[in-house]
């Protein structure tokens, strides 16, 4: 048990609750809050957006995927950042000028249809839940790795903290808290990099690129916590205590090349220089294959790469908790400036994960055996720097990880709760505050329960599924809604349903049936590349067929979306969120 790390996590949670309570005292009503946040400079607003955006998937997951997957996994951080270029160039200013606060508000205002609004609300809830789930899992992983806590505990603690923040008065995502959490995360991931690189140099700078597949440098003991299967590609002598290949073992053992099953609780001890057995779902890559793209031996690797780019580039603009924040800009120009600043802030952060991924192969290779590569950021400071400095750095990354899952979970929960209380719970309960609290509870409990039953995916991969659904639904809706006046309510509704159902079914099937191979597997596990064009085409074709339903007064809406605020045209059309 690492006391410093425990204190750092607790402190991050307490500061989060404290700042939320403090800023909710500053602004008593939602209206106050908006006015207050409009005096916030663009860079601080951008910090808040980045703080909310950089989730457990970015803080922990990206480094883990790079450690396991190498050159092909750099698309995760690149995609998360490039998404903001598309958001900036095609969505930011018109969305702000629409005056809509949430995506359902935008749908209702642009298409004057409560039907489309309801579909959009359901999709916001779906994407929100898909996105919260890995945050809770990340919390569980962090607390388990650092403190030995049971895996479910982290998720429960995050849920409780988020509910305290929201119910305690911070009704809407709080700029101050989220901005603080961005800077905490940047420091927490960047500062250790300097120490890690210094320690690596002092160790004669071994290269992860020109080396063989990862080996244990020293005699290493690894405990296996779940029932797993591992692959070795050459005979290997080791010691084991526990159950291996369904036989009780206690002592020396020789493994032939192939797959071996390990029961939970088994302990393995490897001699110095032994190659690291890999979890059977991870490819065994030597330095060259790891550092070069498309060498991992995965089927249809090129398609998977492009589909991932597609999902991340286009998904960002459809993430409901990100879009909510653009409303807090004073005008369309400020929205562009904010989006540009977010590109800078997010890009700064993403310089770090590759370093952890690369060093992880050298200094924490046992994670490739247990499959817990998501823990590399948390374990590397102790493994490489060690000593007192290592402990303090571990506490720092622990605080950063806590900020990551708290910030994103809070933002998502507020967004999902807002939509739930407006469109579903609010119809049953009259008191808006009570209905918001009920909705907030529902917004965290569902993913918490799902997390207890669902098999764990790598964090960044799980988040990319939420991106895929967003890319297949809200991205075509926003693009057409902003730039094409002929989009009709029927076209939008059909497209949202087609894209949403296609992406969701693909994700569920690929998760439930892991044994599918070949093209079906590639298409199902990365659905955005076909589901987004499908949704877009559906919207266009159905809108053309229902041309008589073009939104009445669409030209007035287009005026509002696109003319700069400096021009004195009438902006009488009021979106629901602005009343």
């Amino acid at each position: 048990m690492n006391v410093l790390a425990a204190a750092a996590i607790a402190l991050t949670a307490l500061v989060t609750i404290g700042l939320a309570a403090y800023s909710s005292r500053l602004a008593r009503t939602t209206g106050d809050f908006y006015v207050a946040s409009r005096s916030v400079p663009a860079w601080w607003n951008a910090s808040a957006i980045s703080g909310e955006y950089l989730s457990a998937a970015s803080f922990l997951g990206v480094a883990g995927l790079i450690m396991a997957g190498g050159a092909d996994a750099v698309w995760f951080p690149v995609g998360y950042a490039v998404g903001y270029v598309l958001l900036l160039a095609l969505v930011a200013a018109p969305l702000r000028r629409s005056g809509a606060y949430t995506l359902p508000d935008f749908c209702e205002a642009r298409l004057r249809s409560t039907g489309v609004r309801l579909i959009a609300s359901a999709l916001v809830v779906l994407i929100g839940w898909l996105y919260v789930l890995p945050q809770l899992q990340g919390a569980g992983l962090a607390l388990h790795t650092l403190l030995g806590a049971p895996v479910w505990l982290g998720g429960v603690l995050v849920s409780v903290t988020v509910l305290i923040v929201i119910v305690g008065g911070g009704m809407r995502s709080v700029t101050l808290v989220q901005g603080f959490q961005y800077w905490l995360k940047v420091v927490a991931i960047m500062l250790p990099v300097l120490f890690l690189l210094a320690a690596w140099r002092a160790d004669a700078s071994p290269s992860a690129v020109s080396s063989s597949a990862p080996v244990f440098d020293d005699r290493t003991t690894v405990s296996v916590e779940n029932h797993i299967a591992v692959t070795v590609d050459q005979p290997l002598v080791l010691e084991a205590a526990g159950t291996v290949d369904n036989q009780r073992v206690d002592g020396a053992l020789t493994w032939q090349a192939g797959t071996h099953e390990l029961a939970a609780g088994t302990t393995l001890t490897f001699p110095a220089g032994a190659p690291v057995p890999h979890l059977s779902s991870l490819p065994v890559l030597d330095g060259q294959a790891w550092s070069q793209p498309l060498q991992g031996g995965q089927e249809h690797a090129l398609y998977r790469t492009f589909a991932l780019m597609f999902a991340l580039f286009l998904g960002t603009m459809g993430l409901p908790h990100v879009l909510v924040r653009f409303y807090t800009n004073p005008d369309g120009r400020a929205a562009r400036k904010t989006a540009l600043t977010v590109i800078a802030l997010v890009g700064l952060f993403y310089l770090a994960p590759s370093v952890y991924g690369m060093l992880g192969r050298l200094y924490t290779p046992e994670l490739l055996l247990t499959g817990r590569t998501d823990a590399v950021v948390l374990l590397l400071p102790q493994a490489l720097v060690g000593g007192t400095a290592g402990q303090w750095l571990t506490a720092l990354v622990a605080a950063g990880a806590a900020a990551a899952f708290l910030a994103t979970a809070t933002g998502l929960t507020v967004t999902v709760a807002g939509v739930l209380s407006q469109d579903i719970v609010g119809r049953k309960i009259d008191d808006p505050i009570v209905s918001f609290r009920v909705a907030a509870a529902a917004a965290v409990i569902v993913p918490l329960l799902l997390g207890l039953v669902a098999d764990t995916l790598p964090l960044a991969r799980a988040v990319s599924l939420a991106f895929a659904v967003a890319a297949a639904t809200f991205s075509p809706l926003l693009l057409l809604g902003i730039w094409w006046r002929r989009l009709t309510d029927v076209g939008a509704a059909t497209g949202l349903l087609v894209g949403g159902v296609a992406a969701t079914v693909a994700i569920v099937v690929s998760t439930v049936l892991p044994d599918v191979n070949g093209w079906p597997a590639a298409l199902l596990s990365q659905p955005a590349a076909w589901a987004m064009p499908l949704a877009l085409a559906t919207m266009v074709i159905v809108s053309r067929r229902t041309a008589h339903r073009i939104t009445p007064g669409v030209d007035r809406i287009m005026i509002r979306l696109h003319t700069p605020e400096a021009v004195g045209v009438q902006r009488t059309w009021i979106a629901r969120g602005e009343r």
């Binding site: 050159a71 750099v74 698309w75 690149v78 950042a81 490039v82 903001y84 270029v85 598309l86 900036l88 160039a89 095609l90 200013a93 290269s207 690129v209 550092s291 070069q292 793209p293 498309l294 690797a301 090129l302 790469t305 492009f306 780019m309 580039f313 120009r333 562009r336 400036k337 989006a339 540009l340 590109i343 800078a344 890009g347 700064l348 993403y350 310089l351 590759s354 730039w483 030209d555 007035r556 287009m558 005026i559 696109h562 003319t563 700069p564 400096a566 021009v567 004195g568 045209v569 009438q570």
Partner: protein
Amino acid sequence: MSAPKPRREVITGPRRDVRRRPPRPVTDEIDDQTGVGRIYLRSLIRTQLRLGLATVALVVVPLVAMPLLFGLWAPVRELQVGPMPLWWFLLGILVYPAILGVGWWYVRQADRNEAQFTDLVEGR
């Protein structure tokens, strides 16, 4: 008999202080969605859309080319920038300042387009 009362004469002439009716402001044209107003607005939308798509292409086309180039052409995989393979230098480091630069260019152009539009419709 008294002399007949002189008839009142109304003298007419062009008034000199009259001003020509001011031209309708373009903002009204836009508000009333007349043909002229529509043309102004559509040209703004088209300009901004073209700029947005150009920005996206500037970023996405090179990125899409990367896996094709590196996947299909082995020699480029061996290139190094200092101790780093070229791939990692480009996608681990250089990509972030590059997209920031493109974004900055976009914001400048978009602001400029809007300022021109504002001058056009307000400045007659």
